[in-house]
């Protein structure tokens, strides 16, 4: 593996221009992700997290001043399309496709024959707790199930780097903590590199090997904290002094940044 890790962002900026006004969404974002790491990204609303993901997914071009390196290679606009598995903030299921065909979408796009794609997707259904729902349509599912279908679709697009944008943001607390544990199990089994956006500090610490806190807009890396809690992690871990210690430190920073967002918009 090159010295640059799996993914390296170097001085990444993103400015949006609309109607004569400039919005700086990201400024000087700089970090490296090592292969196999589970990195969580937390920051106030509107600080540019989704924009950052769009850049890493190849959907949006960073401004000229910085660079994105993937497996050591500098990436130009659109180079990254098709190279990372990206799960956007909304589940974005296709209402006319069954759950099975939704899950198999990326495989179909990759050119796998429909039958083989369905077979491969169907094999994952038990693991994702969706067995028996293959023939259902998205609107017949609960929010948590839809999210799992979207996650399965992302998983089936087998790439080294997974980008998950607030996958559990819309779920109730109970479902959410079930999903967190379940995600860690899946991750332990499949060992992919994960970059995970959340608004929830507990979630960020519980899941991550590392928590990156972003500043209020214009977003940049405000702090980058290792989380050395042993794995596998259970819910108990959230009560350990070590966890609380990390939480206390991050909470102070996150709150400070959130306050900036509020006073800026007030």
């Amino acid at each position: 593996m090159p010295a640059e890790g799996l993914l390296a962002l170097r001085n990444v900026w993103k400015r949006f221009h609309s109607g004569g006004t400039e919005t700086v969404a990201l400024h000087d974002v700089d970090f490296v992700i090592e292969p196999g790491q589970f990195v969580t990204l937390i920051g106030p609303s509107g600080c540019g997290k989704s924009t950052l993901f769009n850049i890493i997914a190849g959907l949006e071009e960073p401004d000229g001043d910085g660079s994105v390196l993937f497996q050591g290679q500098p990436q130009r606009h659109r180079d990254l399309l098709g190279k990372v598995s990206f799960m956007p903030q909304k589940d974005l299921l296709f209402p006319w496709r069954t759950v099975l065909d939704n899950a198999a979408l990326a495989l179909e796009i990759e050119g796998m024959p429909r039958k083989a794609a369905r077979q491969k997707a169907a094999a994952l259904f038990p693991e994702f707790g969706l067995q028996g729902f293959e023939k259902h349509y998205p609107r017949q599912l609960s929010g948590g199930m839809r999210q799992r279908v979207a996650l399965m679709r992302t998983f089936l697009f087998e790439r080294e780097l997974l980008l998950l944008d607030e996958p559990f943001g819309a779920l109730d607390a109970l479902t959410r903590s079930m999903m967190q544990r379940w995600l860690l199990e899946i991750w332990a089994r499949h060992r992919r590199t994960v970059l995970f956006i959340t608004h929830d500090i507990d979630e960020a610490i519980f899941l991550g090997d590392r928590v990156i806190v972003m500043s209020a807009r214009p977003g940049t890396v405000r702090c980058d904290e290792r989380v050395d809690l042993p794995r596998p992690r259970s819910g108990e871990v959230m009560l350990t002094p070590q966890f609380l210690d990390v939480k206390r430190r991050l909470l102070a920073i996150v709150e400070e940044e959130s306050r900036k967002t509020f006073s800026a918009s007030a």
């Binding site: 769009n54 399309l81 990206f86 956007p88 209402p95 006319w96």
Partner: protein, 249 residues
């Protein structure tokens, strides 16, 4: 997928209307000049049944051909306009203006161009039906969700895959609406085309009945046109129920 709406209510309504028309109209002594009883209308229809069947078939063929060509071209034009906005801006206003020409005036020109042939009627039917399909296709393709498109692109999808797997299914419910409007317009076009003169067709019979003030005959033709208009519409509804049941979320 959709819950099947029961046929009982519409069928019951139809029976009531038919019964009222058959029995109540003579009973109330309504002047047959305004509304002849259904029995008179049916008798008149039977007396010209061979002309009626031939006319029905002819008008159906004109409507169907005009609609098929109109919807295919309408769809193609809609797709082109949706993907090449400069063409939409350049040509859509002209099409809109052209649509405001009264179909009678337009029909006269078409008959001068193509003579009193079946082709002239098909052209008029085509002209009326393609525009709603074009507009529906453009609007449908405009509703394609940017986020879903980005998702597909992140999976490395080609433009063709995005069109077939995302844009087209998104647009289909609206396109179906356009087709349903188009098929009704197509029938109107075929009938107006026949007004300019011909020997077969419901429009021909209608013009003759008007000329000779054959009131029951007019009603025969009104019913025939209603049936002719309902058949393709119902077929489209069936297609929609079976294959295009989803709505934009």
């Amino acid at each position: 997928m959709e819950e099947r709406p029961s046929l009982i209510a519409p069928v019951a309504t139809a029976i009531v209307v038919v019964a009222a028309w058959w029995f109540l109209v003579p009973l109330l002594g309504i002047n047959p000049r305004y509304l002849p009883s259904l029995s008179t209308v049916v008798a008149d229809g039977l007396s010209i049944r061979s002309d009626l069947v031939a006319g029905f078939w002819r008008t159906f063929v004109e409507t169907a051909l005009g609609f098929l060509v109109g919807s295919l071209i309408g769809f193609a034009v809609g797709v082109v306009f949706a993907y090449i906005p400069i063409l939409e801006r350049a040509f859509l206003p002209i099409l809109v203006a052209a649509q405001t020409i009264p179909v009678i005036a337009f029909g006269a020109i078409v008959v001068i161009w193509f003579g009193n042939t079946i082709l002239a009627k098909v052209v008029i039917a085509f002209y009326l039906s393609f525009f709603p399909v074009t507009v529906a296709t453009i609007r449908g393709l405009e509703t394609v969700d940017r986020d879903r498109e980005n998702l597909m692109r992140s999976f490395g999808a080609s433009g063709r895959q995005i069109f077939l797997k995302l844009a087209l299914p998104t647009a289909l419910p609206l396109i179906m609406v356009g087709l349903k409007i188009g098929v009704s317009f197509s029938l109107a076009g075929a009938i107006v085309g026949e007004f300019f003169g011909d020997t077969v067709g419901l429009g021909v019979l209608l013009i003759q009945a008007l000329y000779f003030e054959q009131v029951p005959r007019i009603w025969v033709l009104i019913v025939a046109c209603a049936i002719l208009g309902t058949i393709p519409y119902a077929l489209l509804v069936l297609v929609e129920r079976r294959w295009v049941w989803w709505r934009a979320e």
